[in-house]
């Protein structure tokens, strides 16, 4: 069960649980659209479009209810290159985390870019959605982005 060293008892332990999260109308609508292969954002009272659809305006705290369709292509605003994925990462090969501002959106969204190698990544590059083979109404329905 444990190490034989009597002064140091250690044991591995997994804190594991599948959380069931209710989405509410805004996130629920975004994920429903995503399942259909469409991406929507919400528009704030001063006209900014937040993607993924945000429930509340970060500036005014107002509830957001107006949905706006945006493109599935956009531009990388910043990125980090994960040369060695950790166990939790969904892509088990070198990839980028990136903020991607989709055409029609004012605020970039966080996702992954599968570009093969770091040299293929640059800020300002255009990327487009690679849809998951099976879409279930989750942010992972976008498998990742890829260079456009």
């Amino acid at each position: 069960m444990a190490e034989t060293n009597p002064e140091l008892l250690t044991k591995s332990f997994e804190l594991g649980y599948t959380y069931t999260r209710s989405t509410g109308p805004v996130i629920g609508h975004f994920l429903t659209e995503l399942r259909e292969g469409r991406i929507v954002g919400t528009r704030t009272s001063d006209g900014r479009v937040l993607v993924p659809a945000a429930e509340y305006d970060p500036v005014s705290a107002e509830a957001l209810t107006e949905f706006v369709s945006v493109a599935e292509e956009g531009v990388v605003t910043t990125w980090s290159w994960v040369a060695e994925p950790i166990s939790h990462h969904l892509l088990q090969k070198p990839f980028a985390f990136a903020l991607v501002r989709l055409d029609g959106a004012d605020v970039p969204m966080l996702h992954m870019v599968d570009a093969g190698e770091e040299g293929a990544m640059r800020t300002g590059m255009r990327v487009r959605v690679r849809w998951a083979a099976e879409r279930r109404g989750s942010i992972t329905d976008i498998a990742c982005f890829e260079p456009a």
Partner: protein, 154 residues
Amino acid sequence: MSDTPAPVTGIEVPINLQYEFTAGKALTRFLTRIREGRIVGQRCPGCNNVYVPPRGMCAACGIPTEEEVEVVDEGIVESFTVVHIPIPGNPIKPPFVAANILLDGTDMACLHRVSEVDNARVHVGMRVKARWKPREEWDYTFENIAWFRPVEGS
């Protein structure tokens, strides 16, 4: 469209984190002794109370407890409950008795099972003695004591 799937109202998010848990110095010493079939607690130099299992400190006095005190595997039931529902992560089949047992020579009860007696006959003040598991099953756990049983004539 009649075949439109229902809107998304929820998601499932599995979260699994791995930890390498360490027992702590005081507990390590306790578990090392219990593996040898000995119950060794600690005495607080402030209030002189003996703690089993020890925590390396007295929460009343806020000072380290270093003096080790070996105690016997016999004591009294300070209070108890009969657990009627299955407890997640605990294979013991209900109903079973979980009791605060004050071992002789100690000053704070420890929570353990009482068995080998009709649950209805367990009472506050009952004298009990440890029923150890077979020696070959002993490990770094208080469960080397399978449960406490009534002492004859109690």
